[in-house]
Symmetry: C2
Amino acid sequence: MSTSRNAGGPRQRAPRGTLSQDVVLKAAITVIDTEGLATLTIGRLAQDLGVRPMALYTHFRDKDAILKAVATELLARFEMPERRADPIESLRGLWTAYFRLLVDNPALLQLDTFTVDIERAEPRFGEEIYACMGRLQLDHRTAVASVAVMFRFVVGCAVVYPTRRAWDDDPEHWPRHRRSLATLAPETYPSLHELAHDFPAITQDTFFEYGLETQLAAIAAAAASRSPSEPHQIAAAGP
Amino acid sequence: MSTSRNAGGPRQRAPRGTLSQDVVLKAAITVIDTEGLATLTIGRLAQDLGVRPMALYTHFRDKDAILKAVATELLARFEMPERRADPIESLRGLWTAYFRLLVDNPALLQLDTFTVDIERAEPRFGEEIYACMGRLQLDHRTAVASVAVMFRFVVGCAVVYPTRRAWDDDPEHWPRHRRSLATLAPETYPSLHELAHDFPAITQDTFFEYGLETQLAAIAAAAASRSPSEPHQIAAAGP
DNA sequence: ACCTGAACACCGTTCAAGT
DNA sequence: ACCTGAACACCGTTCAAGT
């Protein structure tokens, strides 16, 4: 099951074709997917590949070059959804796909806040997003600001996701949280104390959807106020 | 100007009272504020304090204990704004203060996504936020979801801030960006290509304000639909 | 009680040497 | 051209020893 190529016993010298950029990259991705970015070291990678650490430097200048390649590879996992007739529906699909990409590949956010900039890394994503904005007849400033806000919201959801995802699965988490709220002095913390009786358990995915819908509604409202006679559903992608 | 206590020449043994939890913590904060979290090492800290690395272990169990103390200290920099008559205005002030905390102390986000949970670390913040929600007569579910969305948006803004802040100050950035958009094929990327002519330069702070206002408007709308006869401005914090 | 030297198990990486 | 051993400059940390 392991990709390790050293079967125990005295270690042999690895044959000449053992490594390549692609093989190293695949091994790195495997480590990241199974055990996380923190466990990815040159030594570990060499061990998995049945090779001495220095062998990797023939194929990559340094660890940073490997990480850059990893980021590109993970970004390529983005699945562009089909374009829908309704631009608001298209936006919903696009941003949800982007959210899923970041949540399913948390290493992307750890690697570099810049590499996560899908608008530049995946021009097709930016094109689709701004095509929707155009179909909604939004001016450039409103379009760019809306995209920036949505981008930051999605990044925030994804950053916070790993620590909080465990709460959704732990049936004791919210009861425990309510109990801790109940211990707060009602005089100094009346509002928090009141929440102790009835604290709604909401999942991470629901939080994302709630914020997504709020933002989509704001965009739809801005579009409606701009072209009141023309509902956004029938706006076509003109020349 | 440096806090270093070794004035060159052969190093003397440091006198007995040199270190304390507080002194180590202050030195750690100084390093983080001036040169960032990445440069904070036990060795560097010891050097700044005119002491051998091992001396630190008398006062902190390990580096992680130092980082925890640092996080607490940085969180304590949060400045609670005055409560306003209008709950929406209060929310604006509270979230802006939180945004400023994260942006001025980027180490907070690097330390741990959990420590950044000011709602728990600073109960007064949570209390003020939910007091506003109560004054707006929002049900618990809407209140919790709105707070969660705003929290994630602020975190996203702060995560993205360091890399993008430099763009605001670089007069060549947006022209360069427009030029790179112009190189895209107009047939495959019509919407991006169109943006090349008129790409609005918007600062990080403006992006935050735009999202903040959108979210506040959504909250005000939810409050208005809940108690149509009672504008939120005059809602009092009664029992 | 507090500071230290020596030593250990890790990192990533350079450089010269093998095949 | 590709893989490797030895060595280096870093990490954080344990442990026994100094004062």
